[in-house]
């Protein structure tokens, strides 16, 4: 057994250090099946003290590592290429819920939906709701600055994290708090959220809890033309309505969902459906509902159906939330994209995506957070078909070029990880990428935390990392 692994067994217990190749297989993936990398071993601390001790032991051994929450990420961000993986999934304790101050302090492995469940007795919930919320962890959400359908109104993870206790890769423990209005200081917490595990390991996180809305109204609008749906999205936003969620599901996705066990009753004879949810105090909600319906009709909606009760609402959401998985029925693999474009450019971008798909003979299913302009063009494919995969990757690159060309970005909520790294220099100048490297270096000068992710190493001006870290990321000495 690995000597380091033996040392860490002393901290977490031997049953929580996984070293055998056969048992490391499942840790080779996150939620994006296209990438596989085998960690050196997995160590799973059970609490804050163990997590800190593990990171310090790794620092003492000068060993690079990757922290992983629930392994549901979609950017190959938590893969460990022959280096140590710290599994935070055992750290599932909710330390406290403050119903008056509306905050909760949790360990990083606490699952997003379980936090909302724990807050439910107080009429509160944790607002950021990635589609994987039943399985993804708060720690992973913080690392990725995760979004979700309801982030349109309520904001992304960044807007809901108030404090984090972080063990830096060198073992130093620091407290990061949201900046105060009356105090000078850097927004280190803001920089930490979304740092994809490259800045350190959060061992506890304090988040804001949001009161449940008094009323919710969920609508499904059917659009015979995709263009009309896209236009309705920008019209709703421009009208000053802030829906709780505004999601677009296209025909390809509808076909996959309706063929699955999660059939939500979406019409299969239209080019797109918009799922629109408005919520808030009872007062004014009817006005918003009426306005949304009117705008949808003006943009060519054939019908706008309103969920009659909570189970109906659940069912409508089911079709959206299970869409990714439902595509598993279409083909064995799925390439998931996460680009964002300005909302007024949705219609032309969707048209271009359709053309690109046709040209490369790939199938693109669009299901996305339209209200934010956050596209998810998903391409079901067969990873074993080299010709098809070449076409898929060519199509992806062109889609990214279109989105960047329209003033957009390459990832809205999934993170860069390994998957989006090839596009980073399409989006940022070498100077900007170097600035990102310097930001990272302030947290992790030795670059031992999740090395080789997010910013391609070649853009980092200074590279004073230890030889082992260099080796881990495959950099030339």
């Amino acid at each position: 057994m690995d000597q380091l692994a033996r040392a860490l067994s002393g901290i977490v217990g031997p049953q929580h250090v996984i070293t055998r190749a056969a048992e490391l297989l499942v840790y080779e993936n996150d939620g994006l099946p296209g990438y596989r990398l085998r960690p050196r071993f997995v160590v799973a601390p059970g609490n804050r003290a163990e997590a800190i001790a593990v990171v310090r032991a790794l620092a003492a051994a000068n060993a690079p590592f990757v922290a992983r929450g629930a392994g549901t990420g979609l950017s190959a961000g938590s893969l460990a290429d022959g280096i140590v993986m710290i599994g935070l999934h055992r750290m599932r304790q909710i330390y406290s819920i403050d119903p008056v101050g509306r905050t909760a302090t949790v360990e990083p492995g606490v699952v997003n939906a379980r936090l909302s469940k724990a807050a439910a007795p107080y009429g509160l919930h944790y607002a950021p709701d990635p589609s994987s919320q039943t399985a993804c962890s708060i720690g992973g959400n913080v690392a990725e600055n995760a979004g979700g359908p309801h982030c349109l109104k309520y904001g992304v993870t960044l807007n809901h994290v108030l404090h984090a206790t972080v063990v830096l890769p060198d073992g130093e423990l620091i407290e990061l708090a949201a900046p105060r209005d009356d105090e000078i200081g850097y927004d280190l917490l803001g920089a930490f959220v979304g740092s994809e595990g490259c800045f350190g390991v959060a061992v506890d996180v304090t988040v804001r809890l949001t009161p449940n809305p008094a009323r919710v109204c969920t609508m499904l609008a059917d659009f015979p033309a995709l263009d009309g749906a896209a236009k309705a999205v920008s019209a709703i936003i421009a009208a000053g309505i802030v829906p709780a969620a505004l999601e677009l599901v296209d025909a390809g996705t509808i076909a996959a969902v309706e063929a699955s066990i999660y059939a939500a009753g979406y019409p299969t004879d239209v080019e797109a459906c918009l799922l629109v949810e408005v919520d808030g105090p009872a007062a004014g909600l009817d006005d918003d509902t009426a306005a949304v319906q009117r705008i949808c009709r003006e943009n060519g909606a054939r019908a706008v159906r309103t969920a009659t009760d909570s189970s109906d609402r659940e069912r409508l959401w089911q079709g959206r939330k299970k869409a990714f998985g439902a595509m598993g029925r279409v083909a064995p693999h799925l390439v998931v994209q996460d680009a964002v474009v300005p909302r007024t450019r949705l219609a032309p971008v969707l048209r271009r995506i359709g053309e690109i798909a046709e040209r490369h003979r790939v199938r693109v299913c669009n299901v996305f957070h339209a209200g934010d302009g956050n596209l998810h063009p998903n391409i079901p494919c067969d990873g074993n078909d080299a010709d098809e995969m070449a076409r898929v990757h060519a199509a992806c690159r062109e889609i990214m070029e279109v989105c960047i060309g329209e003033g957009g970005t390459i990832t809205g909520e999934h993170g860069v990880g390994l998957d989006k790294q090839p596009y980073m220099d399409m989006l940022f100048s070498p100077e900007s990428l170097d600035a990102m490297c310097r930001l990272r270096d302030a947290f992790d000068p030795a670059r031992r935390a999740n090395p080789g992710k997010v910013v391609p190493v070649r853009y980092c001006r200074e590279w004073n990392a230890s030889p082992s870290a260099r080796k881990a990321v495959g950099a030339a000495p």
């Binding site: 904001g155 000078i184 803001g190 000053g240 105090p281 964002v340 003033g407 860069v416 310097r438 930001l439």
Partner: protein
């Protein structure tokens, strides 16, 4: 403090490349730069007043103007020297606004607002600078021009240089351009005075969940604070709420003991909010311009409290973004010893 390089110079670069030249020159010559927008938050007692004597002054007023604005996207990109008033004029024409509304006056610049992360009375409800900034361009302490974020409302590409720069008081980079999130101007925007119902306060029925009534024997300001808490806990919460001491009340022409609240949203929502406020006291509608004078009465710069460089990460950041201590030297209290 003595300055080895003679009298301080003043720079007014017209563009980002010019600014980068100024920074590079200062770095080469070992001079400090005091970065100024409109100079609105640089008075006595502000962090800006701590900038080391002898630093050259860089004023960003020529680095102004709106770079991109697509109303349908509800985003706008402006250069740092653009004033808040200019921002407001441009957006208002399209029925939109940027809810920054920081403490101070609207002749302050957008760059300074983000550099100092100065929030205002609506920050908690409508977003603070860190919540409203989508993208940023800056010049670091060695004259390199970098960008973070972008022009879309959701973006996790790369490490977050936007949050890094917002509130860093120009010590890690000089903000040259910002993309902000806008909102549609709501259908209804009502400001009300709430005079808590004297002895009858106890009988008032407060919104559910509020700490009410205030403790017996509490002072007028404590009682007002309790009213504000109750308003914020209500189902329809105000976008902003002001509790004034007697001096401020007199200055702003508000009856003593009144709490001022602003409700924004659809007509029905605002009506409901005002009705809820009515359960706490006597409500009268007042002029919305109150907020302009309220914000202006005190520039509320972020305090000198906190010593950022005591944190290892912050020290390393400073070392990597401004190794020559060119940018706003002294502002973080590094000379306080």
């Amino acid at each position: 403090m003595t300055d080895a390089h003679g009298p301080a110079a003043a720079h007014e670069p017209a563009g980002t490349p010019d600014l980068a030249d100024v920074v590079r020159a200062a770095r080469a010559e070992g001079r400090g730069l005091k970065v100024v927008g409109a100079g609105k938050w640089s008075g006595e007692g502000t962090p800006a007043a701590r900038v080391r004597d002898g630093a050259d002054q860089v004023t960003l007023r020529r680095l102004s103007g709106i770079v991109a604005y697509v109303p349908g996207d509800l985003t706008l990109t402006a250069r740092a020297g653009t004033t808040l008033a200019e921002l407001d004029d441009a957006t208002r024409a399209h029925g939109q606004w940027c809810p920054l509304c920081p403490w101070g006056t609207d002749d302050g610049t957008i760059g300074a607002t983000f550099a100092t992360a100065t929030t205002g009375p609506f920050g908690a409800a409508l977003g603070r600078p860190r919540d409203l900034a989508l993208g940023i361009e800056f010049v670091d302490g060695e004259g390199a021009v970098a960008r973070g974020g972008g022009r879309v409302v959701k973006n996790v590409a790369g490490f977050d240089l936007v949050r890094l720069m917002v509130g860093a008081f120009g010590t890690l980079g000089i903000i040259t351009e910002v993309t902000v999130r806008l909102r549609a101007i709501p259908a209804a925007d009502v400001t009300v005075l709430i005079v808590p119902a004297g002895g009858g306060v106890r009988g008032a029925s407060p919104p559910a969940g509020a700490k009410w009534p205030p403790a017996a024997g509490s002072s007028s300001i404590e009682r007002d604070a309790a009213v504000a808490d109750a308003l914020i806990a209500a189902e329809v919460a105000p976008s902003g709420c002001a509790v004034l001491d007697q001096h401020d009340a007199r200055l702003l022409g508000v009856p003593a003991g009144a709490v001022v609240a602003r409700y924004m949203g659809s007509t029905a929502l605002v009506r409901a909010g005002v009705a809820e406020a009515g359960r706490l006291g006597t409500v009268t509608e007042t002029d919305g311009r109150f907020w302009t004078s309220y914000r202006a009465r005190d520039p509320h710069p972020r305090m000198l409290r906190g010593s950022p460089l005591s944190i290892s990460v912050a020290r390393r950041l400073k070392g990597r973004f401004d190794p020559g201590s060119v940018l706003n030297p002294g502002i973080l209290g590094e000379d306080a010893e």
